[in-house]
């Protein structure tokens, strides 16, 4: 029911590739060497090779401590597929979340129910679209789906990540779908927590790291 994000970390994501590939011209390097008094017995190729590798090591070091497991929110009460939307919606409100994982009795993730899923069921693509219809007071909101089961509306399969997923894997996973949160799975496939995109972005912002 869940699909793991691809773990192809040998292929750096384009965003990080750009970071690592600040290209120096030989004129840049030679000018820098000229500014340092004394003879430097390295070639411009040496410098380029060292810079490239050191930059990669620095990125890995900066971000090595951060994994999905450390960023995720553990206190998440997931939904189950058989409960009704009427029961599910207060759960969103209480937890202050816009998406909630849906699990079976063994805590295996079946899908995710998002605000967008609910809106779509109401016939609106966005909250503003819904608002416009409510304001014009069209008598179109039907109450019967309100008592239908979560399993009918959830997004499934859902992209999830393992506890130890790092920068590259998380970037690739978030880029692969429009969702604002992803379930984080323990090694046995059970739900471990929920990783929110905003938390991920904040953690990897270089200027906000000590």
């Amino acid at each position: 029911m869940t699909q793991r994000s691809s773990r192809d970390s040998s292929e750096p994501s384009s965003a990080q590739g750009d970071l690592a590939d600040i290209e120096f011209t030989d004129a840049d390097i030679l000018e820098a060497m000229r500014e340092i008094p004394g003879y430097l017995d390295i070639s411009t190729m040496d410098f380029r090779a060292i810079y490239r590798l050191a930059h990669r090591h620095a990125l890995d070091r900066l971000f090595s401590g951060i994994t999905a497991g450390r960023l995720m929110r553990r206190e998440v009460n997931p939904l189950t597929p058989e409960i009704s939307l009427a029961e599910a919606i207060p759960s969103f409100v209480h937890q202050g979340l816009k998406s909630l994982p849906v699990v079976d009795g063994q805590q295996q993730v079946l899908g995710i129910l998002t605000e967008t899923d609910v809106l779509r069921w109401l016939g609106a693509e966005t909250f503003l679209g819904l608002l416009a219809r409510v304001i014009t007071d069209e008598p179109w909101i039907k109450s019967d789906p309100y008592h239908r089961a979560v399993g009918e509306f959830m997004t499934s399969p859902v992209v999830s990540v393992p506890l130890d997923a790092g920068l590259r894997e998380l970037l690739a996973a978030f880029a692969s779908h429009p969702g604002r949160a992803m379930p984080v799975l323990a090694a046995d496939g059970r739900l471990a927590g929920l990783l929110q995109r905003k938390v991920f972005l904040a953690a990897y912002h270089p200027d906000r790291r000590s």
Partner: protein, 187 residues
Amino acid sequence: MRLHGDRLSDYLSKMRGSVYGSPPRVSLPEVLWSWAGAFLGIAAVAWLNQWFFVGTDLTLAIGSLGASAVLVFGAVRSPLAQPRNLIGGHVLSALVGVTCWQWLGGEPWLAQAVAVATAIALMHLTRTLHPPGGATALIAVIGSDQVHAMGYLFVLLPATLGPLVLLVVALLFNNLPAARRYPEFWL
């Protein structure tokens, strides 16, 4: 044999060098500092040699110290010029050279080749790579009769004391100019 042809052209193209050229020329003050440092360093070695060792069976001045002066005063920042390399490279290479002369002296070409090659390998392994060490190893084999007669004393006298004198001068001199410092590391 297409693959073979590609490999050959790769191999030959390496000989053209990269397009990037050599490091820039240092400034004129830098040239003068290098000159003055090397002058003082070699003067110290030659002066000590002249006053204490000329006329004895011993010598302090060996050609490879000139090469060390290039590094210690002309490429101060280079890892090759640091104290660990300066002293370690000469001492290890002299040991190898004297040993090769004593064991393989009957076959001079072999003794010379083994001495230099082994000195390089040993310097690599001990992180003491110092190019003049290769010269020291070669001198121990080619020698003069005086060098040969010194035996393992060659390790102590020119090959340890000579670089030590250069080291002292380099410490005192290379830290005078604002733009220089020595060493980058000791061990």
